[in-house]
Subunit: 460 residues, 2 copies
């Protein structure tokens, strides 16, 4: 008889795992059933802001693979609008509720993959239930915002939260012609950057006409006839016709915790390199699973589609009888706010001491192309470096067109533990339309190495 | 008394060295004199095609630092239009001729840096002395072509040579509205790519309306009243009002060889990691110096400004009493032909066996952004991988906007000797405006790893 794999969550991690498992084991060997609470499978949540900006006209374009594809091409039984409400590890079964009919059923499993994703943070603020306040985590959320834009023609948008999704939503509203303000708690937007780089983001966004209210705590919402009219912070009241909450997500683990699947210090489900939890035959992948940070050497929770896809692939290969491992993350991320490009990898300067490193840093201004080549754009590169060894610990980039993707070179060398003295000699590509003869990345490494050498001299 | 450093060649390598040496040792400790045959110092030869295309309006923009800057800010005595005609290692002196006055003088040195650069290949073809036939290696060459374009209004341009400079000149003429043909000997343009990638370049250029005559040998030129009228190949006669020779360069070592400075198997001057030749107190850097290829583990001659700058820096630090090494190259290069982006690093599939590797390869088509994001462009990535280990040996990219600079990630991991199984899990940045959720580089690594796994299975 075929083994039975149940997958909780039909997005990136769950469906990558299902398809990888299927590639290795046919339907006669492995039955696969996936339960998805929402109405879609395998979609790009990261694409929602671009759908809302009108850059992606049809929401269907965000769906990588439909349930039909999974059914027909992968023989995966996908049950949409089915919420798993309980997992019984003793009986090796889960209870799924059909959200349309309300019917509940127990389904047995041999293998279980928990891919429940992340849960958007929704602090219980007064007025938070008013109409016109939205999250933007799921396609269903995105469709709701789209409807509000089309039907209610809001004029003033307030985004609560200054992280990736917050800034991307600010861009979306800006592109749609709304007045946009961003309100957030940290001293600068993009708190995953050090403040000296975050201030570059804040300055650029203000120049684009986006209101930035940093260091302010949202204390509630005002409403009129149940419809939001303003966001109230500890410093001001910002009029709003539409509000988006982009306060980040935490691992969605209620179900797993209730079942007794162990979580780690970050609150995410603890997994090993093969994506196994500590319960035999129970796996986890994606935003609900804890990750190992290769630079801090500690556990982290970083909700990101690219990790979810990789972890899902690894889980699926292993579930299919193959062997694969997920080697961890280094915190690489990128975003775009209108013409502004922002990227980061590794540790911030402020993270480094906590991880046991004594850091120094440099910030270098350069251009994305040879200075004389048309379209050369500014790029500021920060490098965080271990003072005694010169080893790269992290990097941050803020710039214009052509700036952000350079973070990948730094991610690659950071992954390999290189020192800036080696990085500055890397054989990177050069032609005037693509970079100055010393790529900005190499210039930053040169400056960082000069700082390291000066520091060592001071010690003597 | 101050030590005396003479530098032969006032471009990237020579002047980087001079300025680095000066940073470490003041004029009272080290006298620096640089001899430059041409009329400029430290200029971007790579920028000449863009000057000719009209993208860079003023040739002065290509000059990184003027002789005056070197004199005033670095106390380097730059002698323009001075050709060094002989080096006497026994007497530790060189003879320099002032090309304007014809006067010759012997100058003694304690340290000598040979930075004579590359010599454009000019086969002695019948008719090659006709007017309207140009090289494009120096700024003086570039100015001559510019004058020809402005004063003679040529209509039909033929570029001889299908490498980087050839294709960049094809673009320049195209931008200037000329009819352009490229004629070259190899089966596909861009012989530094494997033919399966070169054919993508040829196809794209033909679609842009550039005539591509591959596998043809130029046998001579036709002229009328001493002015070129056609390029004659072994297959046809191509009418031409202007001809550019882009046949590549070889190390310019006549002077060094005559002096007895040893060269390596590539014909370039042999240097160690600190850029020392085997003669005490004699250094070499830039296009005239041999480089170590970190993947083939053998000597290569790769004329490229980015190497020249790095090697010059290393030589200069050492000359200034510091310590620096140049770790070698991996053959990274990039170019742009109108909308087409072409890049490479490491070994070609065809190089690998010669270097002792048994390779396999994959070519993967993807997009530069999420497929649904506006402006997503095609990108083809080839990976060359050692069959038994999965180690990356080289990569090639042909695509459109946003494609080429991705080679740097592959250069970084190639530098570190990573296998494709590790590369596919790299934490690269992801956001829809910058890449699909699996970056093209990661997709290529996944496919390559699948091929490696299949191959190993076959062996069992």
């Amino acid at each position: 008889m075929a083994e039975r794999l149940l997958v909780i969550g039909g997005d990136a991690a769950g469906m990558s795992a299902a398809s990888q498992a299927r590639r290795r084991r046919g339907a006669d060997e492995l039955e696969i059933v996936a339960f998805e609470r929402g109405g879609f499978t395998s979609y790009s949540a990261c694409g929602i802001p671009y759908f809302l900006a009108g850059l992606v006209p049809d929401v269907g374009q965000l769906i990588a693979r439909s349930p039909e594809t999974f059914r027909d091409a992968y023989a995966v039984d996908v049950r949409l609008r089915h919420e798993v409400t309980e997992v019984d590890l003793g009986r090796r079964a889960l209870r799924a509720r059909d959200l349309e009919s309300g019917e509940e059923r127990w389904e047995g499993f041999d293998q279980l993959l928990v891919a429940t994703g992340g849960e958007p943070l929704r602090p219980p603020l007064p007025g938070a239930e008013a109409k016109g306040i939205f999250g933007v985590q799921t396609l269903d959320d995105g469709l709701a915002v789209r409807r509000a834009l089309d039907e209610e023609h809001p004029r003033r948008a307030v985004v609560v939260g200054g992280g990736y999704i917050g800034l991307e939503m600010a861009e979306a509203f800006k592109v749609q012609g709304l007045d946009v303000s961003v309100v957030h708690r940290s001293p600068q937007p993009m708190p995953t950057l050090d403040p000296d780089m975050g201030v570059l983001v804040a300055d650029a966004m203000r120049k684009m006409g986006v209101g930035i209210h940093s260091g302010e705590e949202v204390v509630g919402f005002e409403a009129d006839h149940g419809r939001v009219t303003a966001v109230v912070t500890d410093a001001r009241c910002i009029p709003a016709d539409i509000v988006v909450l982009g306060l980040g997500v935490v691992p969605r683990t209620t179900l797993a915790v209730a079942a007794g699947i162990p979580t780690g210090p970050t609150g995410a489900i603890r997994v090993d390199r093969r994506m196994r939890t500590s319960i035999e035959g129970v796996w986890a992948a994606g935003d609900c699973a804890e990750k190992f940070h290769r630079i801090s050497r500690g556990p982290v929770s970083i909700p990101l589609g690219t990790h979810a896809n990789k972890e899902g692939r690894v889980a699926g290969i292993n579930l299919g009888g193959g062997y694969a491992t997920f080697p961890g993350v280094i915190g690489t991320a990128v975003t775009k706010v209108c013409e502004l490009e922002v990227a980061r990898t590794g540790l911030r300067e402020s993270d480094a001491p906590r991880a046991g490193f004594d850091p120094l840093s440099v910030v270098v201004d350069s251009t994305t192309r040879a200075g004389y080549y048309p379209g050369a754009q500014p790029i500021s590169t920060k490098m965080v470096v271990e003072k005694r060894s010169g080893r790269l610990l992290g990097a941050q980039i803020v710039g214009r067109e052509g700036a952000a993707k350079r973070i990948d070179v730094l991610a690659a060398v950071l992954w390999n533990g290189l020192g800036v003295d080696e990085i500055l000699n890397l054989d990177l590509s050069y032609a005037p339309p693509y970079s100055p003869v010393w790529d900005p990345v190499l210039i930053a490494a040169r400056k960082a190495w000069e700082r390291v050498e000066d520091t060592v001299s001071e010690c003597r």
